[in-house]
Each structure stands twice: as C-alpha cells, then as structure tokens.
C-alpha cells in the first residue's frame, strides 16, 4: 500500500470529485483527508490517499479520469507515516480594502517567528472597490508569547490598512 498526495485543478464543473475519487476507488484506494473548493471558478482539490498497486498505474488512472473532466492532476508519493498535524492554537481574521501584499506580509510575520499556518482561506470580493478577507488557523509555538505576536499582527495590519484579530482557539469539551 502506497501513500499519495493528489492535487487537481481546472475549470469547475459538476462531476470532478466523483470522477477522481471513483478512479481511486476502482484502484482499491482509501481516502484520508480531502480538501476541495472553488477558487474564482477554478476547481481545486487536494487529497491524501492510500492505494495498492503500481504507482505508475495509479498516476495513469488518475490522469485519464482527470482528462475526462477537463482538469489537470498531480500525483506525489508521500511517506506512509504521515508527519504529525500541528495543532492550531489561534485563528487570524483580517479584512480590508484589497491591495497587493496583505497575505504575504502577515504570512511573513508568522514565518519569521516559526508560527505555522495550518489552514488558510482568502476571498476577494468582486466590484470596483474589492474587499479582501483572510481567515487562517496558525500553530503558535510555546516559545512565542501570544501577546507579542498579537501586537505584531495589529501593527502590520495598521500599516496595511486592514482590520485584524488573532484569537486563541478554545475548545470546550462537553
């Protein structure tokens, strides 16, 4: 059993997920995490799957299925022992008038401090004065004081002219 990371992208239409996961099922594969969305009309999917058999056959089969629905697929061998998923500790939300560099600036600030972005979703609105909105989950190492990070985020947000918040992820077990 080999472990693959599959990405697919192309013009969106109904049936892409069915075509790709159907091909994996025919190969005897078993899905792990899947993320699929539409980015301004472009279908985009990433998934991790366990599948038996010849890696070339897995690749060829996915490429055939992808071609049928007009998307391009990329298949990477990944190690079966998946690395640990970092636990998100904080949620960043930031939004404001669109301008280049909002994501890069905030991501750079996290990167400098060893803060890992575990999930990121951004949307730009249509129209003549678009709004840019970011929601991200990040894993802040214990060595990084959350107040300092929050201060740095607010300061960068001010410079960018966006509103931002960094809130701890709090789970209540009931």
């Amino acid at each position: 059993m080999a472990h693959y990371a599959v990405t697919a992208i192309g013009a969106d239409r109904p049936g892409i997920v069915a075509a790709l996961t159907g091909a994996l099922q025919d190969l005897g594969g078993n899905l792990e995490d899947v993320s699929s969305t539409i980015l301004r009309g472009h279908f985009a999917m990433m998934l991790v799957v366990d599948a038996p058999g010849d890696p070339d056959e897995v690749r060829a089969s996915l490429e055939r299925a992808a071609a049928d629905v007009g998307v391009r697929v990329h298949v990477a061998d990944v190690e079966a022992g998946a690395p640990e998923r970092p636990r998100a500790t904080h949620v960043l939300t930031a939004y404001g008038s669109d301008r280049p560099g909002i994501v890069a600036t905030l991501a750079g600030l996290f990167s400098e401090r060893g803060v890992n972005i575990t999930d990121l979703s951004c949307r730009r609105t249509a129209g003549p004065e678009p709004i840019y909105a970011i929601i991200a989950e990040v894993a802040v190492p214990e060595s990084v004081p959350a107040e300092d990070l929050h201060g740095a985020v607010l300061s960068a947000a001010r410079d960018l002219g966006v509103d931002a918040r960094l809130e701890p992820v709090e789970v209540e077990t009931l």
Binding site: E84, A88, V171, T173, L174
Partner: protein, 161 residues
Amino acid sequence: MVRYPDPVLKRVAEPVGEVTEDLRRLSADLVDTMRAMPATVGLAAPQVGEPVRAFVLDVRGHRRADTAHGLVSLFDPEILEAGDPDVLREGCLSVPDLTANVRRPRRVALRGLVPDGSVRVYRMQGFEARAALHEVDHLDGLLILDRVAAPSDLFARKVYR
C-alpha cells in the same frame, strides 16, 4: 465510556417515566465518571452505553460559566424555551478526535425529573445552557457532527498516524 460509532450514541434514548433506585444509581455513576474525566462539565447516559433520557451537569468554576446551578441531574428533560444563539467550538468525549463549531441557544428553560422524583425547572444562561443542550442532544442521538453548518465548521483535534 462508549465512543462513536457505538450505535447507542445515535438512537433516541428511552424516557424513564419515574425515577427508580436503579436510575438514581445510574445518575451517581454519571457524576463519578464525569468528575473522573479532565475538564468535563456534563455527561449523558448514552455516553456510558445506557439508552435512557438522563444526564448530569456541573459548570461550577468553569471560566465561561454564567449561571451555575451546581450539580444538575435530570431525567426526561424537556426544553420549555430556548433562544439567542451563538457559536462555540465544542469537543465531545464520545467523538474525541473531532471538534466542531456548534451554534446553540445562549438561554434555555429545561423541565425534568430530579433524583428525588420531583419535577424541577432550570433557567440557564450562557455556557451552562450550551452544556445542557449538548447533553439533551445526546438523548436524541445527536452529536456535534450533526450540528455543523459548513465544511469549515469541522476540525481534526488530534495528530494522526
């Protein structure tokens, strides 16, 4: 403790009608089990494999607690009134590897039987109301997974192998 996919967690639990000695023992067991688990403020009978409409709750000392009626043990709880929803990320001992953003009323009035057999009405606010409604969901076979509204409301809690 049972965990999903144990079917007892997905069925509608049976009303008790009246509080027997066995049910008082069950309630005491629920309290002991709840107190033995870290950071646990409530437990419903189906979570220990008993398909009956009973739960216990104690939010005293919790930093989010608004009202706190102390130890609450209710049988056949009935929601008289609920409103004013908000969203909080909930975890559940019965689905330990996932968490979910769950929208619930901030205010609830609950009527049920207490261990001495009498009927009592509780008016709860904030975290206590949320915790009680989470437990009532268990009596109806509903888990946090039944309460998510969008893909972004569901999270993996643990590292995986």
